[in-house]
Amino acid sequence: MADKNMVTIEIDGNSVSVEKDTTILEAAQSIDIYIPALCNNELVEPYAACRLCIVEVDDGRKTKLVTSCNYPVRRPISVYTSSEKVLRNRKITLEMMLSRWPNVQVIKDLAKNAGVEKARYQHPAVDLNSNACILCGLCMRVCEQGIWENIINFTNRGAERNVRMPYDSDQPHCVGCGACAEICPTGAITMADDPNQPFDAEMIRKAGMRITEEMIRYDEEQCDMRGVGTAHLVEIMDAYDLLPVMNYRYGKHEETPKISSDVFRKHFTSGKPDGCWLGCTMACAKAIENFELKTGPYKGERVLVDGPEYETLGGSSNMGIFDPYFVAEYNFYCDTYGLDTISFSTGTSFIMECYEAGVLDKEKTGGLELPFGAKDAALELLHQIGRGEGFGLVAGKGIRYMKKYFVENFGADPGFVFDIGMEAKGMEYSEYVTKESLAQQGGYGIALKGAQHDEAWLIFMDMVNKQIPTFEDKAEALHYFPMWRTWFGLCGLCKLPWNDIEPADNAETDEPAKVPGHVQGYCEFFEGVTGKPQTMDSLVRMSEKVYNFQRVFNLKMGFGRREHDAIPYRSAGPVTVEEYESRQERYDTQLKEDAGIDPTGMSSEEKVALTRKHREAQYEHLLNAVYKRRGWTNDGVPTVAKLMELGVDFPDVIELVKKHGG
């Protein structure tokens, strides 16, 4: 059956079928027919400035010369790329170009190919520079369409026409990405060299440019980081039952669409790239402009909100609040008070569950009614924390403090508050539900700084792909990824360009989860700065030294042993009957298949207890495997042998680990 969207044309006698609206140039390139195309580049829209790509088109009625780079194929036609008319015309164009830019290499080469050795006249605006600008417009198009900036443009007319930054000045908005210089066919644009004297600036720029090119080509269809930033994860996490809802009890909610990335794209987030650093073309930071505050010390003022990112949104669903205005308001005030949106939202989710369970009431909170979804009270609590007043004084100290405080002062059941208070090593959990991924429970629990996912995010690998089924597989992932991600911290680099954009051939590599093409890029960044060549293994080795040293530091500070890698049970499984019953089919099946227990006829209470027993044992097994893989004792202490192997066997370090059986 003929596809309506396909058109078959002939190019120099070869027939080719292409999608409607493909340009003649693209069609020719698809069957390796060469057409010179100086002002064209796949990264940008055609511009038809140079006229070198002309071809002759016969539509059955008449023939005409057209520029192939912007001529869309819509019906069957015959194309001639080297007819006499075409060649003559191209020669005239090239002679004119050569007369104007006689020393520019690309022009000289193209002219020579066309049989023009020398221009027979001199152009009135001749430019003898070998890097002369030939007015192809590629730079300004890549800046505008590729980078979403609009920094450079043509100025003047006729012979004076040239590419310039406005007012010929340095532009504060130029991100210095170098895309214009890279795409320029003559070298007319050069980047001012880096003041901090890297070993090989070119190597760094080339590695960066590969990421920039991927961003231009693939970001929109991949993560849309430039469009909405990490907010795109809200709807994804909801779809996989991983978005924390009501203190991690559930993983999705019917109101999630109210705070999904689409809402922020439409109503708030300005459609401009916004990078944390000059030169970053991922530019995933997002802002809400002109937002009118409803509460707090700046009530009534219009402000710029920096965000929201995924965690801030996931924090909101965790508090049972699905209101984009609330998100913007709490985002702004957390930033303004110097609070972390994760700690605030996870802490408040805990408070809300305690409130609903009767651990807290209005009297204990100093008048705040704080069930899930209480957005006004949540904001009031935030302001109290900011001011250091009232119940804010307790809440602001974090979950670890609150658990103890509620037990000692309000008679809370310690079992309950310790099960649902989502912190490890004193740090609040970030916003992912980990119940169905044992590896991720380890990712949070073992992380040196506390319950953060930035050492390892393994939920998909583990729960969805089922790529790491055994304890040893999980331990290997909990070795490689934390080491690799620690390396970003060591070098002060952002992790997002590593795996929030993906090279075209990533899927076909041996280990796509590691994104080997990008690891190679980071090796080049390091070598470009220091002059020392690197491999994936040598980078990981750098981290391993520091990581083990940090573990010893934790040990010294009283946080470096097995007991400190413990997690609240809510992280591993359903704490309450209600929670169990909300996913009953899943948990029943797992009891049967994973734990070998037939749940038929059991009460939910019994099943909760048996599930717990099984899952807690699994977690202990996981710790054993991870410690073994890392060269630590079964108590989680780096061994002397490991520290010697890594060259961090300083006398006081050895003395300390020996004291703890290392």
Binding site: Q222, M461, V464, N465, A513
Partner: protein, 65 residues
């Protein structure tokens, strides 16, 4: 019947990779599909039909903070 990421799914003639992704509600964009170990590029998800009894892997990469 086919098995997708370890989960059994019904099979019918003409079921494509895209159909499976939809059925599983796999919203995440960074996917790698394999049918019986053979890699299927993203632009072929609509046109690649899955044979009965196939083992399908839809590998999710990672993204986010």
């Amino acid at each position: 019947m086919i098995v997708v990421n370890g989960i059994a799914l019904d099979w019918h003639e003409g079921k494509t990779v895209r159909d499976v992704i939809r059925e599983m509600n796999y919203l995440f964009p960074l996917l790698i599909a394999r049918i019986n170990g053979k890699f299927i590029p993203r632009n072929k998800y609509d046109s690649t039909e899955i044979p009965d009894e196939a083992t399908v892997d839809i590998i999710h990469l990672m993204s986010g903070g």
